[in-house]
């Protein structure tokens, strides 16, 4: 399979064409924005947490390329029902994968479809957009804020 086919795996294209969890969460606990200034794309995340800090609902809106849209779609499916800290672990695995590091493929689920992105340096930020925004939501929530006015940029990814 070529690097290109690795990048655009069927799972990615599927999530891109039929994005999951689009929309808003009316009674959201935290709402945040993330952007990729390299291309101008943006994502808006809304999350509702239950009393145990578990993500009850998560929805996204915004625009972006197929990689970013698929990454967001898979992420929303994956973190729903988990805590922020569990989500953060997944996030770190994605980051490791983007840098070409080894990860536990089993644990990654559909996210493993993003592995091919690591071969395309300019697209890594596309894949990370969802996750850096997720991290912002976590930081805001833990600080007791609702995310109003909070915005993160993929340029702050090292």
């Amino acid at each position: 399979m070529s690097e290109f086919d690795d990048l655009y795996q069927a799972i990615i294209l599927d999530h891109y064409r039929k994005p999951r969890n689009r929309g808003t969460v009316p009674d959201a606990s935290v709402r945040v924005d993330g952007k990729n200034p390299l291309c101008g794309d943006e994502v808006h995340l809304e999350l509702r947490l239950d009393e145990n800090g578990r993500i009850e609902d998560i929805k996204s809106s915004g625009h972006g390329c197929s990689i970013s849209q698929a990454s967001i779609s898979i992420m929303t499916e994956l973190v729903k029902g988990r805590t922020f800290d569990e989500g953060k672990q997944v996030c770190e695995s994605v980051r490791t994968m983007m840098r070409g590091g080894e990860v536990d493929e089993e644990a990654m689920g559909e996210l493993i479809a993003l592995k091919g992105v690591s071969k395309f340096p300019v697209r890594i930020k596309c894949a990370m957009l969802s996750w850096t925004t997720f991290e912002l939501a976590m930081a805001e929530f833990k600080a007791g804020r609702d995310g109003a006015g909070a915005m993160v940029s993929t340029e702050d990814e090292k």
Partner: protein, 416 residues
Amino acid sequence: MSYEVEKLRQDFPLLRQTMRGKPLVYLDSAATSQKPRPVLDTLQAYYERWNANVHRGIYEISDLATQHYEAARATVARFIHAAEPAEIVFTRNATEAINLVARAWGDANVKAGDVILLTEMEHHSNLVPWQLLAQRTGARLEFIPLDGQGRLDLAAAEKFFNDRLKLVAVTQMSNVLGTINPVASIIRHAHAVSALVLVDGAQGCAHIATDVQRMDCDFLAFSGHKMCGPTGIGVLYGRKWLLEAMPPFLGGGEMISVVDWRESTWNHTPWKFEAGTPAIAQAIGLGAAVEYLEKIGLDAIHAHEDALVRYAWEQLHDLPGFHPYGPPPDERGGLVAFTLDDLHAHDIAQFLDQQGVAIRAGHHCAMPLHKKLGVAATARASFYLYNTTAEVDALVAALRKALKFFGIETKTVVTV
């Protein structure tokens, strides 16, 4: 003489490369052009035969380096019809040339409340330097708006042409819309209220025969790498008296006349603005690039590109969901920025890369313009003297495949 594009292509070693295993179709010359053999040979000759520091050497190779360096300046002066070589300052690129004016001329001449007039289609390089100047001086930035076709709406800008206006900075040709602007008429307007005009020729000079005296601009900035020259070399043209009246920009060797411990006097223009060891090889390489372009003829190049863009315009319009930005071919140079249905520009470019077709995706260093156009990113194909209609066909075919691949047309995956 007919235009023999296949013969010209032989001059460009990189065009014989493959990309992702496919023949390379290079459609990103608006970002940077490829380099012909005579330019590469000149660089080689410089390093192998004349390499020495310029201006103060008494020995033969230093003298040769100096002569070639100053001859390149004269060649560039001739290319844009400057009154004399002293009006040509070598910089790193168009961006540095514009910054030089914003710092050296701007800091000395612009005051709080003065107006710098730009356009809504400017490249960041002809926008951010003026933002910084405005922050330093308290001057105000205004913008000539665009009409619905991506042309300057000069009537709507009439109100800015008054005695507050100090400078108009306008691109000769937009790197996104392709629009070729009526700079000569803007210049007449500006001069009528004693404002100066800087023309950003980064896209223009490589493609359109440019005559600074006929155009009557005060400053012109452009880059060698976009016109078959090496990277690392750009040009600021300025009227001699303006350059002579300006304080220096960078301080150091070569730009001085007499240096004392705490003060110095300056060399004449253009050396006053060339502090330190210049980009000698690159300036000489740019001279060779100019000679190469002159041999083909700017008018022939422009005609060739015009034919290409008309052909592309037609072919591209057959694609479902094709949406171009900017005016029709009659008023544009050899590039087309577009969106394709709701395919993302970066996905398009990535797919095309796989097909061997190099185009650019993004905001093309014109974020405010894209905001105005209501789109985060566009895809852009740009043509130069070496591109062919067959390459346009390859572009269109690749775009068709992209539509299929991402499932816009058929929602099924095709293999590539």
